[in-house]
Subunit: 199 residues, 2 copies
């Protein structure tokens, strides 16, 4: 990396900090930015600052929002009686992508992970509990990731919520659509068998 001039080197280092960006890609991106028009570079730079300044957490579901309430919580057409609990805002976007879900979300912003020192207090769990007090909610869907931590968090929450008399459900496990049985792992196949349905 010798002979990168200083401002360019700084830009390369900034890109290297991003996840999944190695030093070659960081270089490529930095040069690309350098070849942008002045105006475009300003747009890029502003987008970073603006996103940081204006985005906060929705006071209801803890998802990212530019106002006090996020677009989904503000939306009158969404079914407020169903809450889908996800780990991150990106998980909510993935579920939105299906176009099948009309309820609301609750973003935990993480999972319980004793190894990383993350307990229930660091997650948006009390915000979830406060949404369940008014009796409007009839179902909570656990959509944490199918990992050990995700499972543990779902179990923890379901034990916490069961006494409130709310229906707690979980996303189905099974073989992915378009997948190949041959390459499915044993645990997934076992779950798919377990959860088989009538044709």
């Amino acid at each position: 990396m010798a002979y990168h001039v200083a401002p360019l080197q700084r830009l390369v280092e900034q890109f290297e900090r991003l996840p999944g960006i190695g030093s070659k890609t960081a270089q490529r991106l930095a040069y690309f930015v350098l070849n942008m028009s002045e105006e475009r570079a300003k747009e890029f730079s502003d987008a970073i600052l603006q996103a940081h300044k204006t985005i906060r957490r929705c006071e209801i579901c803890c998802n990212f929002s530019d106002k006090e309430k996020c677009p989904i919580c503000r939306d009158e057409a969404r079914d407020k009686s169903v809450i889908c609990v996800v780990e991150t805002p990106r998980d909510a976007i993935a579920i939105e992508g299906t176009g099948e879900y009309k309820g609301t979300y609750h973003v935990l912003h993480g999972v319980i992970s004793p190894l990383s020192g993350i307990g229930p207090d660091q997650l948006c769990i009390k915000e979830l509990l406060s949404r369940l007090n008014n009796g409007e909610v009839s179902e909570v869907i656990m959509a944490t990731n199918p990992t050990v931590e995700g499972e543990a968090t779902a179990m923890y929450l379901s034990r916490l919520l069961k006494p409130l008399g709310i229906r707690i459900t979980r996303l189905a496990y099974g073989i992915p659509v378009g997948g190949d049985l041959e390459y499915a792992d044993d645990v997934t196949l076992a779950r798919a068998l377990e959860g088989r349905s009538e044709l």
Copy 2:
């Protein structure tokens, strides 16, 4: 992509404009930036603007520089009698990476490409010619890419420079070190045979 709040959406779009960054990666990067500290985000944003503001072309070799002359052209220890002609600043960095080259560079900032409407006038060719007038330069190494355009540009330049009585050379073609003969393409193998050397 529904329900991305506007400032976040703008940031995702900025990342999507970068080369080799798809919509999923752009999303991941945007969320990463959002989770940065305010200070880090400011650093990132500033690095983009600063790189754009302070970087210009070296008045000698046309490489990126933060001063009138780039670090290589300023360096007394570099051999000013050899010029290595490359397409882009990144190519110069690749050659620097070998640690074997002690001469200077000349960055064309592109290749002759009639299909994209790029002729010799759009490249830094007159800057190269003006370096050859003082009789200091004894060799010009063509290190354009081994593509049709790169070859054509090297040919064009060598015809232009030959009358000046300067030695014009070209990087060797051959099989890449650590490569596998079995997977080398025919043209490369033919060139490797052609350029074989005594053991």
